[in-house]
Symmetry: C2
Subunit: 423 residues, 2 copies
């Protein structure tokens, strides 16, 4: 019976409940993202949680990912919980592209759904910030996006010692394949081998390469090409220097990204630590809007996404980012708890709470007669900064800073100034 | 072909795309809600978008609402897109109730899904703020919740001329039925008749009442009972006066709320205007947590929800709330656009943008060489407050306020102060 009950009180596997401490983390992450994206001139948009399955068929050429939450709705429509943002974005842009000056710089923060085997850092419902720059295919727009991605992580106190951006360009591999007489239609198959470099046994990879008449040595020699011999990278790194983010960026031709629609630039954000986790990534997808709109709108585009799950794990592990998060979240805690020491003053206490709340100060008080000691316990358990003791001395009240233990007696009319967030 | 294309570029019926102007509205509503709820000492939580269908079966006693987005996931589970928050909240509280001091005061802002016929104010995906107060069944907690509901709307500039709270108590009807010898198990059936008062023909209602041995006159005479003869209402209104919200509140015994799980207090927030729309509502559900937890946790509770769809329509219709929304949203527009008048200064312009963004000021600039006139057009179309013209005079720059048309020449090092939000 107990086992059944516990199961029934749980969320579905791979999904999450957000108790206040978890939702505070999410709010911290989202607010930091929103502020940085807005500072870069990106405007927030969003789409629906549910989309027609056709939208994803288009992108992947009828072959659908196996991990979709896909079903038939009551109206007989084939629908999906969105597994990613890019097709929705392409749909939005294609439908109203003339209404917006180019480049379009948009971001969104939304939940996504994939039926995967739940594990550390991978869930069935997760949040992502998606940032896209549409209608410009300059190196400056690539640099702008990568700089935004870096600053979305720097906002949490992460430095170039903590993470890096590994970047590449799929066109470099296209040129390489052309030089080695590999047909264009085998590019995807080839890139899936490059994607596994360092993660699969060399002998296995070498064997796969024979199908392309290529050796592992040829691959390694190409991977070692200096930046100044790769078209565009000198200019890109100059743009990074102007933006103060060059220390974060490194060339890594093994980065090819899984999704088929990427063209040109691709990049991934990596934890530099032992675990070497991917925190996010993206790239250029110049042809996707044309595909989604059946050829009616043709705009170059690039974008990236960063997820919340791996990021929160990362921020909780590093002492300096954990401390910064705690400091910022404390500011969101309840500001004042009104301790009612004398029930005859209840009406004054409630009116005081009402005034303070209307002045933008978060306060609470006991709804029923409660012992003073228990009221202080409640205040402490809520992480409150100040206790305000209302008793017979009204309109004088006792103000106690619950963190420093300092106490003073003030007039109730002065409380608003005392409780403002600057103190 | 065009019709097909247009259909494919659309969202599903009853769902919404949020282009930046729509997402700005949502952010305005959500931020205002978050601030007010936090000021009242409510902590934010959330649950998953998808829940096991069992969770909803429990609440409604195996009879499920027809408008669920319900399906079988790839793991063979019977799941639902959440149609409302209360069962999830009850699940969260029941699972960890000992970790939290009572009363638990929580709120959430989340999307919900119901397969309804889309119409004005009613969609298949919509957002709600849900506020709940758990572990206290005092009249003060009812007053606290209703006061929060009122202030969640006042935050948008709505006054007691614009909306009211109509409140009632289901126990009054239970007592009435007892006095008239109607069996308890027919309460729900009876309340569904009261729910239709004023919306269905009187002769029809009178006919339905005969099944209860009651007349319409008896109902109308009960509805006219003065507040001071109804237990608890005098005390409740005293609590409202302390909180300064008495002008918003009126007794209305015809309010019974549709959902079966309500006990005691019930209330609805109504537009006072011609359309008399419901903006939200809630009530007490003292037994629901016990039901959801199969009897393991028994806590009194009350809560309410306000939706985003009707609210935004309402705020856009009233001149004073529309103006306030516009004023607050303008503050979120881009602060500065750096006009690059001389390409030789591009690197300085990009570095300047980087410094300003790091100082928390939102700025943008052209990614490629662009005519000065066109750059100003872009700045205007983005609703930017200031244009900053970088040219041969560097480090002197021209600062133009695009709203007042005022111009001045300043040193680039002074820009940060000039562009701060206070100006």
């Amino acid at each position: 019976m107990l086992a059944v009950l516990q199961m029934e009180l749980q969320h579905l596997p791979g999904f999450r409940d957000f108790y206040p401490e978890d939702r505070a983390w999410l709010n911290y992450i989202f607010e930091c993202w929103r502020t940085t994206a807005a500072n870069f001139g990106f405007a927030e948009y969003d789409g629906p949680t549910l989309e027609s399955t056709d939208l994803y068929k288009k992108k992947s050429g009828e072959e659908l990912k196996s991990q979709l939450f896909r079903f038939e709705d009551q109206g007989g429509r084939d629908v999906c919980l969105r597994p990613e943002m890019t097709p929705t974005l392409a749909r939005l842009v294609a439908a109203r592209e003339r209404d917006f000056k180019k480049p379009i710089k948009w971001f969104s923060i939304s939940p996504f759904f994939r039926f995967e085997k739940p594990q550390k850092g991978r869930l069935r419902e997760f949040y992502q910030i998606n940032c896209d720059l549409i209608g410009d295919n300059s190196l400056a727009s690539d640099a702008e996006l990568i700089s935004l991605a870096i600053n979305l992580l720097r906002g949490f106190g992460l430095t170039s010692r903590d993470f890096s951006v590994r970047l590449s360009n799929r066109n470099l591999w296209s040129d390489f394949l052309k030089r080695h007489d590999v047909p264009v239609d085998r590019t995807a198959e080839f890139l899936s081998i490059i994607d596994k470099l360092g993660r699969e046994e060399e002998t296995r990879l070498a064997q796969k390469l024979t199908a392309f008449n290529l050796t592992l040595d040829q691959i390694h020699s190409f991977l070692a090409t200096p930046t100044d011999q790769l078209p565009g990278f000198e200019e890109l790194f100059r743009e990074f220097r102007w933006r103060g983010v060059e220390d974060f960026c490194e060339l890594d031709l093994t980065i090819v990204r899984g999704l088929d629609y990427y063209s040109g630039l691709v990049f991934e954000l990596f934890d530099r630590g032992r675990e070497n986790r991917a925190l996010g990534g993206g790239g250029r997808y110049d042809k996707l809007i044309e595909v989604i709109s059946d050829g009616s709108v043709d705009l170059p585009a690039a974008g990236f996404a960063i997820g919340d799950v791996v990021l929160r794990n990362f921020l909780e592990e590093l002492p300096h980012t954990r401390a910064l998060a705690a400091e910022r979240m404390v500011k969101r805690a309840l500001r004042g708890y009104i301790v009612i020491a004398s029930e005859s003053q209840r009406s004054e206490a409630v009116k005081l709470a009402t005034r303070l709340r209307e002045a933008g100060i978060s306060v609470d008080f006991p709804l029923e007669a409660t012992k003073v000691g228990k009221q202080f316990q409640t205040a402490e358990s809520l992480g409150t900064q100040y206790a305000v003791v209302v008793g017979q001395e009204w309109p004088q009240v006792r103000l106690k800073n619950l963190r420093t233990r300092e106490e003073s007696v003030v007039l109730e009319a002065e409380l608003e100034n005392n409780l403002k967030l600057e103190n």
